[in-house]
Symmetry: none
Subunit: 212 residues, 4 copies
């Protein structure tokens, strides 16, 4: 009962085979060369596909790469054990690992550079094309839906204060991670995730009896 009423598509249909080959080739090329070194001609060549075919599917290199990364990074596991601290830590650790893998893309093994690599370029790509920005934001909205729901549930069962905004809370957590990755370049490991969660949950201010 797929709604598509046979959509009378005329002419030769797009090769689905090509789609796969392109994405596979693009993925590997990105891994080898990084964002800047990723060249459309080369991508087409490796996929055994004409450049036209690339551009028929994605209007821009930026579009292609954002789509590609969206595909790769889509799954972030969210567990709900009832222990909000534990769930958040494992979630953040997963993200941190993913980001760190992205960061190393296109680098030689010994490279100790702390810069943000591909992630930064994607952010820039989003900045260059409104629609790519839209896509990236949609991607993140989707990705973040689960953890946000997790936070909501935690609040509902009384593990979080009633006044707490889930969105804000999430910003504090994810933001710190991305800030480190994109801006200060400091490492983000499991330890950091734990400390972060602890401090976020506990709050920074000394207890204020009258504020209760």
């Amino acid at each position: 009962m797929t709604a598509s009423a046979a959509a009378p598509r005329r002419g030769r249909p797009r090769s689905e085979d090509a789609d796969g080959r392109i994405l596979r080739a693009a993925h590997q090329l990105l891994l080898e060369r990084g964002y800047d070194g990723f060249v459309m001609d080369e991508a087409a060549l490796r996929a055994g596909v004409a450049k036209t075919t690339l551009y028929r599917r994605w209007p821009t290199k930026d579009h292609l790469l954002v789509a590609l990364v969206a595909r790769i990074q889509d799954e972030v596991p969210v567990t709900d054990t009832g222990d909000i601290r534990r769930d958040l830590v494992s979630y953040l650790t997963a993200i941190a690992t993913g980001l760190d893998r992205m960061r190393r893309v296109g680098r030689a093994d010994g490279d100790t550079d702390r810069s943000a690599g591909v992630v930064a370029e994607l952010v820039a790509a989003a900045a260059r094309h409104p629609d790519v920005g839209e896509a990236v934001r949609a991607l993140f909205a989707r990705r973040n839906a689960l953890p946000l729901a997790l936070l909501d549930r935690a609040r509902e069962r009384g593990a979080l204060r009633a006044e707490v905004s889930s969105a804000l809370l999430f910003d504090q957590l994810a933001g710190a991670l991305y800030y480190r990755l994109l801006v200060t370049g400091e490492p983000v490991g499991a330890r950091y995730a734990e400390d972060l969660v602890d401090q976020v949950l506990a709050g920074a201010a000394t207890p204020q009896p009258e504020r209760t």
Copy 2:
């Protein structure tokens, strides 16, 4: 007793005049055209300087622009009124305003795109050249020193809990801002800054007597 024995500088000294003209021209050009539209030839032309003179000072367009922005964005006012909440809010608001100005650079007035613009490009630039990354991180280290000191003082006088890490706390605050700007593209205004500070200070978890 400064060891520098006057360093007998040989050859024609670099024209400080040129430096000024270049940075001024570059600044304006960046404002008008944005990162992508910023063209070295044009920058040289406007500064009344040969392109070689640009490249003698900065090996790359990325280098030049990062240096330029570093110059522009260097000053972020930090007040210390003794009321940590107030100080943080005003600091974050100042940053948010600065970022928002950067974001609009090179855009037509009516442009409603929520993307990160120049900031994202700078982050990407930092990702492309290790030395630019280094410079950016140094810049942020310098910029962040004052607010970090502010947090330290607040903790010392008992306004913050003793276990709180200033660095971590700062990440929660600045991170959230940058995350919104660079990734989700949601607006960051004064209201957001206030809510953020409140929640960060108060903590998310419900009071846990036994955790004390």
Copy 3:
């Protein structure tokens, strides 16, 4: 029985139209500005063609200009009236005229400089790139085939001594012309051509009865 099985040429063929426009524009530009003043950007601009299109066809400014001049200078008329003296004089005069025109290329009208101009630059270009040298030599081989044949015929019918080498003879004639043009800069006119031919034919030595 030409083996070339139609070579199934794939992809977009090179625009012959572009070829024409380029060569026409380049020709005019060379006439106006001379070798040194000939600038690739300008040539592309005038031809209404991207610079890459130029470089796809000729790897270098030198290559382009040599090809261009080869095209322009290809035709040198050779007459065979049976009177070898007359034929040679008219041939040499034609060459001299052509060279002289080349020499004036890119010069203001009143310019009295006796230097070799474009011709010299072409020779230098040939010296800079082995393949250009090859092309130039091939060009001259083609150009010289006719006059050499003329000399051969003259010898066969007894107008030249049997021992005479056509190649050597040709060197004496053409060489003198080029030497004047390129090295000493003295003018080469019709009068000079006549005297040259006379002396070459007559020989320099006093008759040596015993040498017969």
Copy 4:
């Protein structure tokens, strides 16, 4: 009896030491790199001299190199044994050898390219600057004075026909050599010199009794 009345030169005199070092360094650099690869900065560096010092002496790279080559190539031995054939052959052989040495300048040993190398560039240099052209022509006038005198003497003593023009005769000889070197790139060896002289002296035309 030099008219120069001590020319009251003021200021610091030019260092003759520098002159020597420059020319030596330039010579070697030219040999190593050829005309195109000869770079003023490098020449100055090697001579241990400021670029200014170069330009104070020669207004242009072309000027410097022409002066340099003039210096190197100045001496061509002319013998006068009374046997005009022999004298010419040995003279031409000497020139041919010199040219061939020039041709190989800046080339790797195995290089089989037949192009004219430095000689051609000098000719082009002469074409670019009127005064360099003048200098080159003066140089050749000086160089050619001796062989021309040789020819004159030969004619006077009856070894050459009375009507023969020395200048023209010389053009036939030297011209052929330069033509081969600069244009056709064919080798010029001792054998060629002999054949050339023979044919030039004998004349090409069959004896024409009535032309006497």
